[in-house]
Symmetry: C2
Subunit: 207 residues, 2 copies
């Protein structure tokens, strides 16, 4: 990584932390330059517009999420164990709050749902990729025979997203100490239902 | 309702629509005065600060939600039918989008989760009331024998909130035409699980 690229990553890391706290709209080149003790023109050399900075910040955060959640989870065996690893890593990510101000994607989703433009388009593409990725891992679990043949993977993906959103709401806004424990129980219930009427223990099949 | 109160309700109705689109932070006395073609000082006579305006806007929206969702649902018979009525009215509310810019409470939750102060406190109180209300309706369904005796009503409330949040995300951000259908299926699955291992048809018991 060259010096220019290193600076750029350093800027994006800070930008992601600011956006996690203040939302993407709270992210301005002027404000960020001040926080980083850089000149505005120096920052402009890296990002030509507020929108470009916002898009790059979202992408930076998505790469971090992939490194911390997706890649490690993919090391788990295909099928139900991998679905569970995905959930557990995701919950770890939320618990660790690596950007320091709650989930940037949740904040961006409500900020951008009514605002057309390239930043929204990028976020939508990311979120669709993520839901499709979850559905794909669930589809494998179905194909491995861990989940019921009639299970709808897109349904499971939306349901799992709901479990995470509710936990985020309960923990971040309501500061409910039982938020995560309930998310774990909700996930267990989803998995039990996904196995279908006859329980198929995953461990025996995954080994 | 006196003339002063009528004006106040008119202002709050508009404020709720603005906040639904722009978030509570997008709600300023100056901006709202312009939209309503009122003087800033006229608006100040009703709301002495931006914070007071934000709190009153949240309360106005909560009253609307109670009128449109809670009150009609309470006319359904106690137990599972009332839990279902609550869900259906809530989904109708989300579908009708009465404030025109998506759920104000969802937007406010991510805006305020890191910002201490009276507006956050008010939102937290509202949201806790709402979750406790759901849990109470679920508890009745358990006491009526429609749901399993070991069902945890607070767990159900968080799970149901998740179903709604995921549907909001899928519909508003991703514009997924299947968002609501999936919410309905997720709700059905929650209810099936709530009945416990032995299915107890609610209709027979509720009649």
């Amino acid at each position: 990584m060259g010096k220019g690229e290193e600076t750029r990553q350093h800027i994006l890391g800070r930008a992601a932390r600011v956006a996690s706290r203040m939302g993407l709209e709270g992210l301005t080149i002027g404000g960020l330059a001040e926080e980083l003790e850089l000149s505005k023109s120096g920052l402009f050399a890296h990002f030509q517009s507020k929108e470009a900075l916002q898009v790059e910040t979202l992408r930076f955060s998505a790469r971090l999420f992939i490194d911390r959640v997706v890649r490690p989870a993919m090391k788990a065996p295909r099928g139900e164990p991998r679905v569970r690893a995905l959930f557990e890593r995701w919950l770890d990510w939320a618990r660790a709050d690596p950007l320091g101000g709650g989930c940037l994607f949740v904040a961006a989703a409500t900020e951008l749902d009514d605002r057309e433009g390239p930043v929204r388009d990028d976020l939508v593409r990311q979120q669709k990729d993520w839901l499709e990725f979850i559905a794909g891992v669930v589809r494998s679990a179905r194909d491995e025979g861990h989940f019921h043949p009639k299970l709808d993977p897109e349904q499971f993906a939306q349901d799992l997203y709901g479990v995470m959103l509710a936990a985020h709401h309960a923990r971040r806004l309501l500061r409910d100490p039982r938020a995560e424990e309930r998310a774990e129980r909700a996930f267990d219930a989803l998995v039990r239902a996904a196995r279908g009427p006859v329980a198929r223990p995953a461990k025996a099949r995954a080994s």
